[in-house]
């Protein structure tokens, strides 16, 4: 290979310093993608380390909270738990749950206090590996950086099963990104598919709007809103369950794809489990297993899904009780309680004729997945997940934050990002020093 002596760029390479459009390439040590809670936390800690960086944001700060959430949504975590590095809720209602407007204000205020170098309306179109780091192509210009933090979230795209294409065209289909409130739906029966936090919340509010709801239930995580008089997420936090690290978790792959717990944040702290939904008159059916000749076919395995979720909840409550007993922390906490098993309906429908007009819309509450189509570095596996060890991505200087069970059980929650971010930004700092 012909070349010039080391360190002396050949003439033809002069243009490397310019992007295709002739604009100069901007250089920065670290690029963070995403100005949500994870990206802003990373920015705060990068600033503490005096690492020059920018935060690229496709829209505005807290963009997905602004544009990809339904109207009534509130955080699942109580206000006292909603905290970021050096910043926490200090309002009058520590036990309440933030509305989307409050979350947006919370994150915007944090960004302002941290003077986060956020660049809004900047869409990252491509990230490639180059000598000495990464080339980041964006809608507003090209950037070179030595290290890169992916904080673009775990819920960029709704996951909808492929059977959606077999649904008769007379039935309207909605993902949680399109759904805002029940008024958007036809005034007829609604099939909600999925019984995670999203599915149960939407099922309840749609049913209350007078549209009869059939809820298709797959594997789910049952939790009471409060346990022994405290928020169940207080228990998760205090007992240390939420702090469990990767090496303490038996089946990490499973823990990472666990559906969100059946919780809702409401001022009266109600439990919204399947018994509550059934009592409202919502029709519980098994997992949507297929669509044949215009008929939705539901699994007959509902009873076992109930058992699995009930047993798992009881084991978790046992863990809480043991923790409380062991440390004599019981004082001031009410007695252990146990909840009624999930009631199995006397009959559950195995089929639903989607052409009969009974159901006019389907809401797919079947989860979300991240979108890495812009990431042209071979770190995404065949299932579309990042290859990383506790957020250290399998490419030098690349990191991820805010993904489920990234380093701890709490990783994907707002308050969960701080511990992860501190460790990863430490790692990043070490990486830069070693460069």
């Amino acid at each position: 290979m012909q070349g010039s002596p080391r360190g002396e760029a050949p003439r033809s390479n002069k243009r490397l310093g310019e992007s295709r459009r002739g604009h100069p390439i901007e250089r920065v040590t670290t690029v963070v993608i995403g100005a949500g809670h994870a990206g802003l936390a990373a920015s705060r800690l990068l600033a503490e380390r005096s690492i020059d960086h920018i935060v690229l944001e496709r829209g505005e700060i807290a963009n997905s909270w602004r544009r990809e959430r339904w109207d009534s949504l509130r955080l699942l975590t109580p206000n006292w738990q909603t905290r970021l590095p050096g910043y926490k809720y200090e309002g009058p209602d520590p036990d309440g749950y933030m509305t989307m407007g409050e979350v947006i204000a919370f994150l915007s205020h944090f960004a302002a206090l941290s003077a986060a170098p956020v660049r809004p309306s900047t869409n990252v179109t491509s990230v490639t590996r180059v000598d000495g780091g990464y080339h980041v192509a964006t809608s507003t210009g090209d950037i070179r950086c030595r290290s890169f933090v992916i904080a673009s979230g775990a819920c960029n795209l709704p996951s909808v099963p492929s059977i959606r294409s077999a649904i008769p065209t007379t039935v309207e289909q909605f993902t949680p990104f399109e759904y805002r409130n029940p008024d958007l739906l036809p005034e007829a029966g609604v099939l909600v598919v999925g019984a995670s936090a999203t599915g149960i919340q939407l099922a309840a509010e749609i049913h209350r709007s007078g549209r009869p709801v059939t809820l298709s239930v797959g594997e789910h995580v049952r939790l009471p809103r409060t346990y022994r008089g405290r928020d169940v997420l207080w228990w998760m936090d205090a007992s240390g369950v939420w702090n469990q690290r990767l090496e303490e978790i038996d089946d990490l792959a499973r823990a990472r794809r666990l559906p969100s717990p059946q919780l809702v944040g409401t001022p009266d702290r109600t439990t919204l489990d399947l018994n509550a939904l059934a009592a409202m008159g919502i029709d519980l059916v098994g997992r949507l297993a297929g669509v044949r000749d215009g008929r939705a076919l539901f699994s007959g395995g509902l009873r076992n899904l109930f058992s699995l979720a009930d047993l798992k909840m009881e084991r978790l409550l046992d863990t809480f009780d043991e923790w409380a007993r062991a440390g004599a922390r019981d004082t001031g906490i009410s007695e252990p309680e146990r909840f009624e098993p999930t009631r199995v309906p006397p009959t559950s429908r195995l089929q639903l004729d989607l052409r009969s007009g009974e159901i006019r819309s389907i809401v797919w509450a079947t989860g979300f997945r991240p979108d890495y189509r812009w990431l042209h570095v071979p770190v995404v596996d065949e299932k579309g997940h990042l290859r990383h060890a506790g957020g250290v991505v399998d490419s030098p200087g690349m990191y991820a934050l805010g993904l489920p069970v990234l380093r701890r059980r709490k990783s994907s929650f707002i308050h969960g990002v701080e511990d992860d971010a501190r460790e990863l930004i430490d790692h990043l700092y070490g990486f830069l020093r070693g460069c």
Partner: protein, 184 residues
């Protein structure tokens, strides 16, 4: 997971090893199970099972097994074997039982006895064409386990639940599957 001295005769380590190996070799995980059936007379048939395909090649059971199936005398048949729909219960019972043993082993739980009773409820007006609103097959299946093991009732319930979660026969009964029947 607690590794104890429980021995239910299941080589869980081999299963866990296979799980790891197949993560990187999805093709080897593709199995085809086979059965060959011959009509005898009336409603009586004999089905032989010996070979299957898996781990990338043809495999053979140690011995070929034959299954006689017929209808009972109250259906004006000769009752040369159990009815085909009863074979479904045989499959479900043996699948869940194998699962209980494997899950218990994996959880370090020693089993002393595992017994189950199965009941499949069916309205025969379906197969006789009396009422088109009545389905042909079972409309309700109940499995009752009686398990004696070194574990609490909750732990045993969790083992049985996990066994259902990982059961091939339970899955194929509770969920639809594409069936192609051809004449050659």
């Amino acid at each position: 997971m607690a590794m104890t001295t429980a021995n239910n005769g299941v080589n869980v380590q081999a299963l866990l090893d296979a799980r790891e190996v197949l993560k990187g070799a999805p093709e080897a995980a593709k199995f085809t199970w086979r059965a060959s059936c011959k009509w005898r007379n009336g409603t009586h048939s004999k089905t032989d099972v010996s070979g299957f395909f898996g781990l990338g090649q043809e495999q053979k059971h140690k011995t070929e097994t034959s299954f006689e199936a017929d209808h009972p005398e109250i259906f004006a048949s000769e009752d040369n074997g159990i009815t085909p729909i009863e074979y479904v219960l045989v499959g479900l019972a043996s699948c869940l039982t194998a699962g209980v043993a494997a899950v218990a082993q994996n959880r370090g739980v020693q089993l002393r006895s595992v017994e189950s009773q199965l009941e499949g409820k069916m309205d025969i007006r379906g197969i006789l064409g009396v009422d088109s609103d009545v389905r042909n097959g079972y409309d309700d299946i109940k499995v009752t386990f009686k398990i004696d093991a070194d574990a609490s009732k909750k732990e045993i319930e969790a083992i049985v639940a996990q066994s259902q979660k990982r059961s091939a026969v339970y899955d194929v009964i509770t969920n639809p599957v594409n069936v192609t029947v051809e004449v050659v």
